[in-house]
Symmetry: C2
Subunit: 353 residues, 2 copies
């Protein structure tokens, strides 16, 4: 197959981990006789420096023509004091919205070798393997009006949804649950929000079409508790944009493997943006210390979700597991009796496998 | 001093724990020569059954004349299928709003004897002692419009604040920090929400008046992570109503002592509503199993925040610590080599102390 991939290295350690992602994609292309072509564009702080905007026009145009996009990381103290529209995150929010990437998929898995690094007791977190499906282009992030009023004496933001926006993310979640352990937790605040009551109705309607999936509704406050007390009880969680932002970050620290977590933001036709969950870590940028595994696992998600290459994706995931199993790790992971290597060596090990 | 207290026992274990709270108040009145008078009213499911509404008029009237209100718990499966306006939680939201209780104070403290019950590793959670100051009568909970639109094809909720509402909660938080460890974390989502940007401005303005308090701003997703990875790094957290709902429930499970957590909802003049954080636990209602300590610690908050009785409050807290230290516990707390007692015995032990 021929696929065209846009790389958005971004800021901090973004370029290093993007390089690792590209190498893995090239290795897969070689082994499975695919043709992957690449082009790189600026986003975030790097784009502010080069073009005066965090999301240049030609970056958007290139992404619009791509089969998939890989993003390294955006942001850093250098750009933190800029006004809102020039903040690196605007680039990220903008590209999600412009590409219509409504479904953010955030898997969290406990790796046996890393449990000692978890803040949770091993018996609480062991065996956890969950997927948060976060709505990404609606809700409190984009609703209008969002403005000052009464001469600056009051302010509003708006949580708005089209019913159809809720339907498509709920369907995506049901489909994800079908290929996993067939359990879906829909998270809302139906005892307070009208939008949550519509959300609950849509889930109740849609579940007719997925009789093999068991559904439960949970309030967002209860979900925030249960993620900590019993993370292994979850399979797939589906929720609104802001709730998803909070819960997926909470979930990301449970297993002690933040440096390992991938994410995908996709739309119906499979086009997607893939990025590691970790940030741009400006303090270690350029020192070959960054752990490339989150990016490499994001590549596996790209192969699966955007290109339908299940076998290739499995190969990448298996390689990551074997390298960890053999005891190799970057400085952020502290594996007892392991062998510490630099970021580029880690990527090479995975490719070797 | 003379004080008039309204008791709202509510549902499930609410009446049992309210009884314990009243006994402790009576003991304090006796020892310190105060006159506390009491009257009981219905709220929640109990009020739906008796009066056809979760918040009867005369309950509101009585609360309006009280110096403080104690609430047991509301809700239960019996009322879960009722339409929105008859749900027991409506009683709780209504009384908060009607009394203007804009500041919800939720302390979370790690008790050495209970660390084994925490989902977190002891070394992560030990020493945690934080207070969440949640805005309680504004934000996403009450903003208008909140409605269906386009013939049911879309929906909105509104996150609205007056600048003055943000100012008073931020001031309350600074004052709370001043009598604690003088560190304030203001939590928002300023990279996305206009209301969060106003929130941040208000904090920056107000901090001039509290030069002894160190302030930091944190994004809500980062705060959700740090509560799990490093809870002992927080002192006071101040945040919007919905963020506060999520974070305070997340925080409540960190220390393994959910059955111990009190809460206070207060306004400027000190009038407040005090309630245990735990729910109505209908499964154990009426069996003398409910742990009364959260309610008793809520009484301590009432003495301090509504009546200005610092010494009396300290006496109650010290009694709770001593009873725990002596190894007494209810069925929900599992203290190694402890002595399990029923809820009423537990209350008696505290009063004895
Ligand atoms: C940078 C920020 C706007 C973004 C979000 O809130 O969506 C980030 O936290 C994320 O989750 O990808
Ligand atoms: C019952 C519910 C409406 C309430 C809230 O969300 O405020 C509860 O979760 C709380 O935190 O006291």
């Amino acid at each position: 197959m021929k696929k065209h991939i846009v790389l958005l290295p971004g800021d901090g350690i973004g370029p290093e981990v993007t390089k690792a992602a590209k190498q893995v994609l090239e290795a897969i292309a070689g082994r499975y006789q695919h043709t992957f072509t690449f082009e790189s564009h600026d986003i975030g702080g790097a784009a502010v420096d080069q073009h005066g905007t965090p999301l240049p026009e030609d970056t958007v145009e290139a992404c619009n023509k791509a089969d998939a996009v890989f993003l390294g990381a955006v942001g850093g103290p250098k750009w933190d004091q800029l006004p809102g529209h020039l903040r690196p995150e605007k680039g990220l929010l903008g590209i999600r919205k412009q590409l219509g990437l409504f479904a953010n998929l955030r898997p969290v898995q406990a790796f046996q070798q890393l449990l000692h690094a978890s803040p949770l007791k091993s018996e609480v977190v062991a065996g956890s393997d969950l997927l948060i499906v976060r709505e990404l282009t609606g809700g409190l992030y984009f609703g209008e009006p969002r403005e000052r009023r009464d001469n600056g004496q009051s302010v509003v933001d708006t949580l708005a949804y089209q019913r159809s926006e809720i339907e498509r993310i709920v369907e995506k979640a049901f489909q994800s649950a079908q290929v996993r352990r067939k359990h879906l937790t829909s998270v809302d605040k139906a005892n307070v929000l009208e939008s949550s009551r519509m959300w609950r109705e849509v889930v109740e309607e849609k579940k007719q079409a997925y009789p093999d999936v068991e559904v439960e509704h949970m309030l967002v406050d209860a979900a925030a508790m249960k993620l900590v007390t019993n993370p292994s009880s979850f399979d797939v969680i589906v929720t609104e944009n802001m709730f998803g932002d909070i819960l997926s970050d909470e979930a990301s620290v449970l297993t002690g493997s933040l440096g390992m977590l991938p994410s995908a933001s996709v739309r119906e036709d499979g086009v997607g943006l893939f990025e590691p969950v970790h940030g741009s870590a400006p303090d270690i940028a350029g020192q070959n210390k960054a752990n490339p595994l989150a990016s490499i696992l994001s590549v596996a998600m790209m192969l699966k979700h955007s290109f339908g290459m299940q076998e290739e994706a499995d190969t990448v995931e298996a390689a990551v597991h074997e390298v960890l199993h053999a005891g190799f790790h970057t400085a952020d992971l502290d594996i007892t009796q392991g062998i510490e290597v630099g970021g580029s060596q880690m990527a090479a090990k995975v490719i070797e496998q």
